[in-house]
């Protein structure tokens, strides 16, 4: 019969056994990660495997006069050396980017950024490949270098992209200069101009967001293995979006897509760096086809930081119009976007500046207008969403700094200015002036909770006292309080406006229940550390009443997983998480038929209860999901197919809009410029919370990256385009010692359109964290008349800012 035990288990116990949504379930993947038993690309060893390495450009801009590979070829152990000349007959010397541009796989006629790929050496081991890379000789003719994006469209600027110099029409409209990529405009320009003409108060400031890099601990890498007999290619790689890679690889190589097997094994962090397609991947494929052997390519840290996708490099001029009482009446933003040598941004195709039009933030702007100019410079390509949705970090930083600048001008407290302008709970769903429909929120409740959590008025009083002491010369310490209220836009996205290379940005889940009630489920997304194996199982557990421990989640193998667009932009829970719930519901519907059959009642007379179907009103008559699973294979009801599985492809009706209120308290040593985070409180609202522990972990990680960006990260180029400090000595990756202690809080406002109400959280802390840090540093100096101090806020820059205010004696 159903229950063997004399005392029926309590509903609570049954619920707890599932470890479903809301449970602080431990991360199942950590069992292997913490024991060094992960399986990464570089762990892969295949018989006869060869190793590839690049010879790279010494110059940022130069014509290639000749490439001599003879010495490299002559080195024992070198199997092949590929140059653009070898790729050209295969039409593989250029490849399409996700942004509608093309990128050189290997530079042929000229190099456009330092460390650009010129030759790919294939050798029997890594060491020989590195030695041979040094033996390639390239003769250059140096060309004038364009580093400053503000000079890109001057009439006498050097022309970078000779391959498209004559093209007046780009992927996103008219180009008005050979170095111009696109201009993207959104909003009502006239109405916005009018708001500014009528404004009692207006602010305007250039708010730059420096070039940074996602810098995952595992660099980009691939292993390609081409089977000549079968005509099949297997490609293992660090791919955040393996299916997209398969499609691109098929288009590029003309190998039919079913003969390409793309596998993303464990990934050691992505943060946007592993969304795009890189020359290394392409060269490993070509080299495998040419040599008939598997070929591995592994990027080193300097290559990672200086060649594969950077992030940000947005130069934003923000203007706010307001009433004297501090009610905002208009927002106008112009962005100069430095895309480097090729437009290799990883944005949905129709969004050349991503979702930057979220720049009205959490505030009720009646009108707004945004224009973005993308330009080429002699820097590495990229422009990826580094732990954020597309260009959302830039937007949040822009509006949160601009609001603080406005607060200072009005003499209002920054928190008070925000409270006066936040979108009100009753305004949701809220249509923003720049076209987004925000799904849900209770912003005032969130900000008030955060202010209470840190005893905000007391902090302000302490700060005032400290400023007075500073001005009396009694201390050289200052204190800054950074308030940030952000709205994220994640879960790209609806097929009506989101695609990548023409493929709609749905996502998918396929769930199979085995006869014993164990489950395997596969998704089109790909975890890089986010713990999908844990959380997707929790969704399934709650939806269909099978313990999470009995559910295995698998991602990353394109032969077995349903097609999906991958993991970035906090999209996994909003899209594949929704698909998972929808697939579960299909299974549940069938399970209900089976249960009714087994219980000999009409299917309307049974109802789902935690882990079973129960005859309504008769809790003793039930069939557990385990019973039902067995029956599905053993004795399916007449007229029903055997088996218990489902697939769902979920096309989200809208984005989701997580939000949060962050407060940072910073102590600043004016003598050295050293900033110490005294306190950081982060309140996140990501809708339904699937696993609170994982949410906290994601928030901690995202805040740490936000801290890194705000307080130190920058990819710097000198005036001739030499990339500076592309190593972990200079590129700021904080250790546990530097990282502040994080305090977290939450409110819960489910998304009304998502099947389980979840919104996504992985990237919120980066989006909200950067402005909180920067506002804190800036806030420390506001009382002295400072308007804006640019990031990164490393000690020397803070010291310089203080010097500019006359504070350094």
């Amino acid at each position: 019969m159903n229950e063997m035990s004399p005392v029926p288990e309590s509903r609570q116990d049954r619920e707890a056994k599932l470890e479903g949504m809301g449970c602080r379930r431990k991360r199942v993947e950590d069992v292997r990660f913490t024991q060094g038993r992960g399986n990464y690309v570089d762990d892969l060893k295949l018989p006869g495997m060869l190793f590839g390495d690049f010879h790279r450009s010494s110059y940022a801009h130069a014509r290639i006069k000749s490439i001599d590979t003879s010495k490299a070829r002559a080195l024992p152990g070198v199997v092949a050396v590929l140059t653009a000349a070898d790729l050209k007959p295969l039409k593989l010397d250029w490849m399409p980017t996700l942004a509608g541009d093309v990128q050189a796989v290997l530079a042929g006629d000229k190099v456009l950024f330092q460390n650009q790929e010129i030759a790919f050496i294939v050798a029997t081991d890594r060491y020989i490949a590195a030695d041979a890379a040094d033996l390639v000789e390239v003769e250059y003719e140096e060309l004038p270098v364009l580093v400053d994006p503000f000079k890109a469209m001057l009439p006498d600027a050097p022309i970078l992209r000779e391959d498209i110099a004559d093209k007046t029409e780009g992927a996103h409209g008219q180009r008005r200069h050979p170095n111009h990529i696109f201009t993207w405009e959104i909003g009502d320009r006239e109405a916005t101009d009018l708001a500014f003409r009528n404004a009692a108060v207006a602010t305007k400031h250039l708010i730059p967001y420096q070039r940074v890099h996602p810098c995952p601990l595992e660099t980009c890498q691939s292993v390609a293995s081409f089977d000549k007999i079968k005509g099949e290619l297997t490609l293992w790689g660090t791919f955040q979006a393996p299916h997209v890679v398969r499609t691109v690889a098929s288009i590029l190589s003309s190998i039919p897509e079913h003969k390409i097997h793309v596998i993303a094994p464990d990934i050691g962090g992505g943060f946007g760096n592993k969304v795009g397609v890189y020359p290394g991947y392409v060269c490993s494929i070509v080299a495998s086809i040419v040599t008939g052997k598997p070929v591995k390519w592994v990027e080193d840290r300097m290559e990672n930081l200086s060649t594969t996708a950077f992030a940000r490099d947005y130069h934003m001029t923000a203007e706010i119009a307001a009433t004297p009482q501090g009610k905002v009446t208009g927002l106008r933003v112009h962005v100069l976007a430095d895309h480097g040598a090729f437009d290799a941004c990883a944005d949905p195709s129709k969004w050349p500046a991503g979702f930057f039009n979220i720049v009205t933030g959490s505030y009720d702007f009646p009108v707004a207008h945004v224009s973005v100019d993308g330009v080429y410079t002699n820097k590495a390509p990229g422009g990826v969403a580094y732990r954020c949705s597309f260009r959302v970090t830039e937007a949040a930083y822009c509006i949160e700094r601009a609001m603080d600048i406005l607060a200072a001008k009005l003499g209002l407290d920054p928190a008070e200015l925000r409270l006066r302008n936040l979108i009100k709970r009753e305004q949701f769903p809220y249509l923003s002036a720049l076209g987004w429909e925000y799904d849900s929120g209770d912003y005032h409740a969130a900000l008030n909770k955060a202010l209470d959590a840190v005893s905000y008025p007391a902090l302000r009083a302490e700060q005032k006292a400290m400023q007075a002491a500073f001005q009396r010369g009694e201390t050289r310490q200052l204190m800054g309080i950074g308030v940030s209220f952000f709205t994220e836009i994640v879960g790209a996205g609806p097929s009506k406006n989101c695609d990548i290379l023409g493929i709609a940005m749905f996502d998918s889940a396929e769930i199979r229940i085995h006869p014993t009630g164990a489950v395997i489920a596969r998704m089109g997304t790909k975890s890089q550390g986010q713990a999908h194996e844990t959380t997707y199982a929790q969704i399934i557990a709650s939806e269909i009443g099978i313990p999470a421990a009995d559910i295995m989640i698998e991602e990353g193998n394109t032969d077995t997983a349903p097609y999906g667009l991958g993991t970035y932009g906090s999209r996994s829970t909003p899209t594949a998480g929704a698909a998972t719930a929808m697939a579960c519901r299909k299974i549940k519907a069938k399970a209900q038929m089976i249960a009714a059959h087994l219980l000999e009642v009409h299917h309307d007379d049974v109802e789902f209860d935690i882990d079973r179907f129960v005859v309504k009103g008769m809790p003793d008559r039930f069939k557990t999901m385990k019973d039902i699973s067995w029956a599905a294979y053993h004795a399916p009801p007449p007229g029903l197919e055997p088996g218990l599985e489902a697939v769902s492809y979920y096309d989200p009706p809208n984005m989701t809009f997580p939000f949060g209120a962050y407060i940072c308290v910073m102590d600043i040593d004016v003598d050295t410029g050293v900033c110490t985070t005294r306190r950081f409180y982060a309140l996140d609202d990501c809708g339904t919370r699937i696993n609170p522990m994982i949410i906290e972990g994601q928030v901690h990680g995202g805040l740490t990256e936000a801290f890194a960006i705000a307080m130190g990260q920058e990819i710097v180029y000198d005036e001739i385009g030499n990339v500076q400090g592309a190593s972990l000595m200079d590129f700021f990756l904080p250790t546990a010692v530097e990282t502040p202690v994080w305090e977290t809080g939450f409110t819960t406002t489910p998304s009304p359109h998502h099947p389980i109400g979840a919104k996504g959280v992985g990237e919120s802390p980066n989006v909200g964290g950067v402005p909180a840090f920067s506002n804190a540093v800036n806030d420390a100096f506001t009382f002295l008349g400072s308007q804006h101090i640019a990031m990164p806020h490393d000690p020397w820059r803070v010291w310089k800012a203080a010097e500019a205010l006359g504070l350094q004696g």
Partner: protein, 288 residues
């Protein structure tokens, strides 16, 4: 990030190692902890054909007293400097400095000998050696000699050490009673070289400074002994005014490069701040 190829040797005596250096000439390099040399080799900024690992030479190890002097073997790791109880009590500034170097993993490998012989202005120990007037015990084909730290550093990676010589130990005289030393280092994060750092030693008698030595890290192509800055404090009362004076004088002899740690002008100023802070701490310790 892959070094060129090289032959590897592991001698067991100082004589053996010296002979190997003599045989292979400029193509040979000693390696101790490897945590300065190997990164340079990975960047192919150093490409020795012959790498002679001194890690197996027992005579290079150990922390001893020789009369009132401290005699510290070149192979002593930074972790060992931190762990040694007698040293922590008798000459705490070495422990304090070692704790400011890199991170625990690096300190488990990096040696005092490598740190001082390397000649990188970013290394922290050389300034401490200048400050404390240490001597480097050296063995070459011609025998032993003892080189004063003051005068050892000539330029970035250029020292008085001959190609075929090995540093065997560092000799440091005990500080006179009533004195104390301190090391202050400004860095961006754990594992970073100094933006600016200062080593100071200061003695007090009857409420006046009777002895003061100041040295600076990473503020010029070599570590700097700020002799005049130290001298200027003799006979003065310890306090903000004296320390500011020394800081200003120390700033005058710096010649830092501009790098990601900051422009030269900032780094110079930080040299002054570090001097002030180190003096304040040393004065407090000397009093108690």
């Amino acid at each position: 990030m892959i070094s060129g190829s090289f032959a590897f040797y592991r001698p067991h005596t100082i004589a053996e190692a010296v002979a190997m250096l003599a045989t292979h000439g400029d193509a040979a390099r000693l390696v101790a902890g490897g945590h300065s040399l190997i990164p340079m080799m990975k960047l192919r900024m150093a490409m020795p054909d012959h790498l002679i690992d001194v890690g197996g030479i027992a005579d290079l190890k150990g922390i001893k007293r020789d009369g009132s002097d401290w005699l510290i073997g070149a192979l002593t790791t930074q972790a060992e400097l931190i762990a040694d109880q007698a040293l922590a009590a008798g000459l705490p500034v070495l422990r304090e400095t070692a704790l400011q170097i890199a991170d625990p993993q690096v300190r488990n490998c990096g040696t005092l000998g490598g740190n001082i012989a390397n000649g990188d202005p970013g290394n922290d120990m050389p300034a401490v050696m200048l400050c404390l007037n240490a001597r480097f015990e050296v063995t070459g084909p011609g025998g032993k000699r003892s080189i004063p730290a003051r005068g050892f550093y000539h330029g970035a990676y250029v020292t008085s050490l001959a190609q075929d010589e090995i540093v065997t130990a560092v000799r440091i005289a005990a500080l006179p009673p009533g004195s104390a030393a301190a090391y202050e280092k400004l860095k961006r994060k754990v594992g970073d070289y100094a933006t600016a750092a200062a080593a100071v030693a200061l003695g007090l008698q009857d409420g006046k400074i009777n002895f003061c030595s100041i040295a600076l890290t990473n503020l010029a192509p070599t570590p700097l002994w700020a002799e005049a800055a130290g001298q200027a404090l003799i006979g003065r009362a310890p306090g903000a005014e004296s320390f500011a004076l020394a800081g200003r004088l120390a700033e005058e002899i710096t010649d830092p490069s501009s790098d990601a740690r900051g422009p030269a002008a900032y780094r110079t100023k930080m040299g002054g701040v570090m001097v002030r802070r180190a003096l304040a701490r040393a004065a407090l310790a000397a009093k108690t």
